[in-house]
Amino acid sequence: MTETRRGRLLAGVLPGVPQLLEGRWGAGLFALVAWALGLWTLLVRWERVSGLPYESPGEWVALAALVAAILGPWLWSVRGGRLRAAERGDGQWALTLRAFGRNRLALAGMVAIGLFYMVAVLTPFLAPYDPVHQGDLASQRFLGPSAAHPLGTDQFARDVLSRLLYGARVSLSIGFIAVGISVTLGTLIGAVAGYLGGRTDSVIMRFVDMVIAFPRLVLLITVIALFEPSIFLIVAVLGLTQWPYVSRIVRGEVLSLREREFVQAARALGYSRRRVILRHIVPNAMAPVIVAATLGIGNTIVLEAGLSFLGLGIQPPDPSWGSMVENGRDVLLRAWWISTFPGLAIVLTVLSFNLVGDGLRDALDPRQAGRR
């Protein structure tokens, strides 16, 4: 009893710490850091928080995120900080969650991703300067990292840190949306092909082979070069060129699921094809898809950065990590920081997604059970 009360008291002052002490450092660390970041933003950046005009939806989202970042971890921690599904049950997801929780690297990646997204959402409060505002060219450009400009300024005297923060919103959301499109499409098409078999299957799979045989980047730059580059086109093209990879995975799963008893039972009960596919086949084929999606987000972020680097992605002056790297390319020797930091941001983000993807794969693969 005293133990819990002390835990609650501690949680009231420093959310997440009791969980850290319990050894659940993934959830605990995330709660603590998210809360600290929220509080720091509120206190140190109070002028920005109170001074924003709150006209664009982004600013309202930032405010909502700020409130959530401060209250969420606190409430969660004070109320005992349990993830119910992980505690009880021995279903697939509970087992997976527990296996994932034991993988420290994967948890670190998860925490990092959570923080990247938080920072991206809170950017209106955090960014010290306007990302497209050009300072005094004579005195403010090519400034090295300093207290006023932690990551320096570029050739147009813009603050690299502010651009990096605003660029994060583009990179992180494009990755998510594009992978969402490709996973939805790929799962459905793959499941239909695998379940129906026969001619449908071979037609779809030949098409899939064809798209996969194509170097994806070349296809992307061909399409984007022919149409006007815009953020919608990029998201659409990135999403629409990735689904064949997902389809191939799903089809493989479905081919073996199709013969299993529970699917035969569903069929014997007279359920429609649609119902069998959507309710019985797809949920059971999701495990490898989730892994592929997580790794796919990292991949997509790299690809988007690459397209922006070639001038085919986000158009200037809007910041994106890829175009920032390109910006610094001709002035590497004079101002190495312009290219270096955005690239580092890409690497860290993608690394986090890959760590989580690897962790999920290990956690979801029953053959891996018991190892490590």
Partner: protein
């Protein structure tokens, strides 16, 4: 075996044809009028119509598609607007540059990747294994164009201008300006120096993936009974690892040859752009900036064909080295 080869070869043809079809329709359904390239101020509508008719652009799309396929079959990829030369000629001249870069990078990538993967598997769960794993994942997560810029920054710019190292590497082109005046061996050294940074940038990212794969494959093999038998009968560890395990662990890695080709070619697009390497990737990127569609189309087609052919070779290689593969 012969039948298997024949079937795979026949299967590759519709694949290339399909890719060509997709490309044709993307280019032709895209907005914009290619005849506008020839538009001049003060030209009247009738002249524009004549230009369209000259290029066959007034025909319906299925007729254009048929004619395009026919010329493709003759090896005619059209005419570059920007360079005023047949696309086939242009590509024939430039393709070897890309093949050199890609070939050397692929070689280095597999060599480094396999060696690192074996070291990790043999020393599983050691500190070295963890360090190499994280390092491999770090490079695996890296955009190749950024790695290329960082290589230039360190090994070319800083090494030469700031730290004044005795060895630095050139950051662009295939040869130095004074290449023509060099002797035979010096020419080779000059080319190797220019090849070093682009090949390494390309290879490091690829080798990270190969090392991850090799480690898993080697671990799978090391657990098997015949390895335990080999150890039990007292064979030295070195011979068990290299003679018994490595050979079988390399089989699945052979499939990576085919799987990594699209990545390799995607990589060359960036690397060639960064290093001004006169290859296919740079050709296509330049063509896009110049709106030179025949070159874009031809270049993409060649890339896709190389991937299909590479996959075919990898499959055949796989069938040759793994007798367990059934050919039916």
């Amino acid at each position: 075996m012969t039948r298997y080869l024949a079937r795979r070869l026949l299967g590759a043809i519709p694949l290339v044809l399909g890719v060509a079809t997709i490309l044709f329709f993307i280019v032709n359904l895209a907005p914009g009028d290619p005849a506008l390239v020839y538009a001049r101020p003060g030209m009247d509508a009738a002249t524009m119509e004549q230009i369209r008719a000259n290029f066959g652009l007034d025909r319906p799309i299925h007729v254009r598609y048929g004619r395009w396929l026919a010329s493709l079959a003759r090896g005619d990829l059209g005419y570059s607007f920007a360079r005023n030369r047949p696309v086939t000629e242009l590509i024939a001249e430039i393709l070897p540059n890309t093949l050199i870069l890609a070939g050397v990078a692929f070689g280095i990538a597999f060599l480094v990747g396999i060696v690192l993967g074996v070291i990790q598997a043999v020393r599983q769960y050691s500190a070295l294994d963890s360090i190499l794993s994280v390092l491999a994942l770090f490079f695996y997560s890296m955009p190749s164009f950024w790695l290329a810029l960082m290589m230039i920054l360190v090994f070319s710019l800083f090494a030469r201008n700031v730290w004044e190292w005795p060895i630095w590497f050139p950051a662009s082109g295939m040869t130095s300006i004074d290449y023509e005046f060099l002797g035979g061996w010096e020419r080779l050294a000059d080319r190797a120096r220019h090849l070093f940074l682009p090949a390494m940038s390309l290879a490091l990212v690829l080798s990270a993936g190969i090392a991850r794969y090799m480690r898993a494959s080697m671990l799978e093999v090391i657990r098997q009974d015949y390895i335990r038998t080999a150890r039990a009968k007292g064979l030295p560890a070195r011979s068990v690892v290299f003679k018994h395990a490595l050979r079988n662990a390399l089989i699945p890695v052979a499939t990576l040859l085919g799987l990594y080709l699209p990545f390799l070619f995607s990589g060359t697009v960036f690397i060639e752009t960064v290093f001004s390497w006169p290859g296919m990737g740079k050709l296509v990127v330049d063509a896009i900036n110049q709106r030179d569609y025949p070159v874009v189309l031809g270049g993409s087609l060649i890339f896709a064909t190389m991937v299909v052919v590479g996959n075919l070779l990898a499959d055949i290689l796989y069938a040759v080295i793994d007798p367990r593969v059934r050919y039916d």
